[in-house]
């Protein structure tokens, strides 16, 4: 761990997380700290525990040991939606979009927790509620603008191609105005053109929002090009950590990948 990583107010810190499924140890005393504004890549061979790590941080699994902290606040054991409200957004491997809904509706759902109207106000739907709707709709349109998906904003997400769906997924996560964004294999199943597009958007997000991005990724070229720092997992343990250049030369990493 670098010295900066030890400050208590890191956007995300996983401390000594251990996750077991029966006899299988998915994560073994994993500690990862994400620093302000950095693009951290988590890599590793199949079954290394990358997605498990993501699921532990997002609250899908509760680790048997260890803690997850968001900006210094311990969120271990909180429900998924509570962690999301604490500022963590994630995209899924594949997509988990609301397929029957249009792009704009998907993005508006992302803004749910930022809106305050209660059900009685919604029932009567007068002034303040409509102003709030319009205000958040504006924010949603800004995201649509940012991701260059204006033309498809009223299309049901289910009818879109995979690359565009991934972009909507990113847009929906951004709509939450998270303080940290985690992406689970965003490049999986894309052609190289789509990969380039998405890579550009990921870099843009970091520029525009100044938030750290955690990337779980298989595609080595993407990782080496984008990441500031790389954490390598193998059999549920962190085996290496450093800049992409360091990682490429690390003998433990080469051994893990080539056997």
């Amino acid at each position: 761990m670098s010295a900066a990583a030890e400050t208590s107010a890191a956007p995300l810190a996983v401390r000594g997380a251990t996750l077991k499924f029966g006899g299988v140890t998915a994560l073994d005393d994993v500690s990862v700290t994400v620093n302000d504004g950095e693009l951290l890549a988590i890599i590793g061979p199949n079954g290394a525990g990358k997605t498990s790590l993501l699921n532990v941080t997002a609250g899908f699994y509760r680790p048997q040991q260890g803690h997850v902290e968001l900006s210094g606040k311990d969120v271990t054991g909180l429900r998924v939606d509570q962690i999301a409200r604490s500022g963590l957004a994630r995209t899924f491997q594949g997509t988990h979009l609301f397929a029957g809904q249009t792009v704009i509706e998907n993005i508006m759902i992302g803004r749910h927790t930022l809106m305050n109207s209660n059900v009685v106000q919604a029932f009567f739907h007068f002034g303040p509620v409509m102003r709030e709707e319009a205000e958040h709709r504006k924010a949603a349109e800004e995201i649509i603008d940012f991701l260059e998906i204006e033309a498809i904003r009223n299309k049901p997400v289910g009818t879109l191609g995979y690359g565009l769906r991934k972009r909507v997924d990113l847009g929906r996560a951004l709509a939450q105005e998270p303080s940290i964004l985690m992406m689970d294999e965003p490049m999986a199943g894309m052609n190289s053109e789509e990969k380039e597009d998405l890579a550009r958007f990921i870099l843009d997000v970091r520029e525009a929002r100044k938030i750290p991005v955690v990337l779980v990724e298989h595609d080595m070229s993407v990782v080496m090009d984008l990441a500031d720092r790389v954490v390598v997992l193998d059999f549920g343990r962190v085996i290496a950590e450093g800049t992409p250049a360091e990682i490429q030369k690390n003998p433990a990493v080469i051994k893990a990948y080539l056997g």
């Binding site: 939606d81 927790t113 059900v119 709709r137």
Partner: protein, 350 residues
């Protein structure tokens, strides 16, 4: 619906329900027609319309719970019953004004519905359907087996008419206006709810509860809220029912009735308020036709026997619903939406 090439220029305009002058005109005409109905048609039609309005409130509630939030609910008639009994007891024992009785009946039903909504946090699909059937039977047993001084037992409760400033809502016409006013408010409110953040949260939970969670939506609470709102509507509808029939009995709120409400939203189209209204209209019309035609057949062909005719009529009603499911599984609203979108893009193919 604007034709091709016309786009909204503000977000408020984009969220508007009434977009064109023609839509506004159609709505005003419809409302005027409804208000004038007692002077245009006979008492029998008014009674049918009144029944439709009450069913509409209940079906819209079910649409929110099942159509929007995706929580199967076979206990809507029980929730309606809770509302009807609450209204009856309050009106007959405390003499409260209906202005308070109707919302209180809604709240009582909402509490009852919320309890069953809590189970939806853990179970889904068929199992949830079974649990909501339990609501139906708990209601039934409670009414029949609790001391009859509480809820009238099997004798039911007679309800005094609604009263406002000395005006008694006794006649068909007066009750029709009462139901119409309440239904108008409730349906307008439903449109408000479904296009607010709550409506979106319901849809999110229905379509993908994992993703809904990661959006910061409390999935369990949202499901329970869907039941709460759905049951509130049922309770208000139940109170209107109590004021209309002026007598409540436990056999007015059976599983059979619940299934009819489900049939209404399926025929009209899941996930659409207008769809629920269309479904109510279609099912109630079919029921009325059958109720009118049935006795005539029984009279004109006496050798068939009245019992068989009435049984046959229910078979036909079931058959019509089954046909809808086969031929138009997405509901009539779906067909209408296809028409609308083709108008919107005309003359272009897409």
């Amino acid at each position: 619906m604007d034709p091709s090439g016309i786009f909204p220029t503000s977000y408020q305009a984009d969220g508007r329900l009434i977009r064109t002058r023609w839509q506004a005109l159609a709505l005003v005409l419809f409302l005027a027609l409804m208000l004038a109905a007692p002077y245009l048609v006979g008492a029998r039609i008014i009674a049918v319309l009144n029944m439709m309005l009450i069913s509409a409130v209940i079906a819209v509630g079910l649409q929110i719970c099942t159509g929007y939030a995706g929580q199967i609910n076979l206990g809507q008639a029980a929730f309606m019953g809770v509302g009807a009994y609450t209204a009856s007891i309050l009106a007959s024992k405390t003499g409260l004004t209906f202005l308070l009785v109707i919302p209180l009946a809604g709240i009582a039903a909402a509490v009852f519905g919320f309890l069953f909504g809590l189970t939806a946090a853990r179970i889904k699909g068929f199992y949830l359907a079974l649990t909501t059937i339990a609501a139906q039977f708990i209601f039934h047993f409670a009414v029949l087996n609790l001391p009859s001084t509480w809820m009238g037992g099997s004798n039911g409760i007679t309800v005094p008419p609604a009263e406002l400033f000395g005006l008694r809502f006794v006649s068909e016409t007066a009750q029709f206006y009462l139901s119409f006013a309440v239904a108008a408010i409730m349906i307008a409110g439903a449109f408000g709810i479904v296009r607010s953040r709550f409506g979106r949260a319901f849809v999110a939970v229905r379509d993908d509860d994992v993703a809904a969670g990661i959006m910061g939506i409390n999935v369990a609470a949202t499901k329970a809220n869907a039941f709460l709102i759905g049951a509130f509507y049922a309770g208000v509808g139940g109170a209107l029912w109590a004021y209309m029939i002026r007598f409540v009995g436990v056999d007015q709120f059976t599983l059979f009735h619940s299934i009819f409400f489900v049939a209404m939203i399926i025929v009209g189209g899941m996930g659409s308020i207008v769809g629920a209204l269309i479904g109510v209209f279609v099912i109630r019309i079919i029921q009325e036709i059958i109720a009118t035609v049935g006795p005539n057949i029984a009279e004109s062909v006496p050798f068939v026997g009245g019992d068989i005719v009435f049984a046959g009529m229910n078979v036909i009603l079931g058959g019509v619903i089954a046909l809808f499911m086969i031929l138009e599984p997405k509901g009539l609203m779906h067909r209408w939406n296809i028409l609308k979108s083709s108008y919107r893009i005309w003359p272009f193919p897409y």
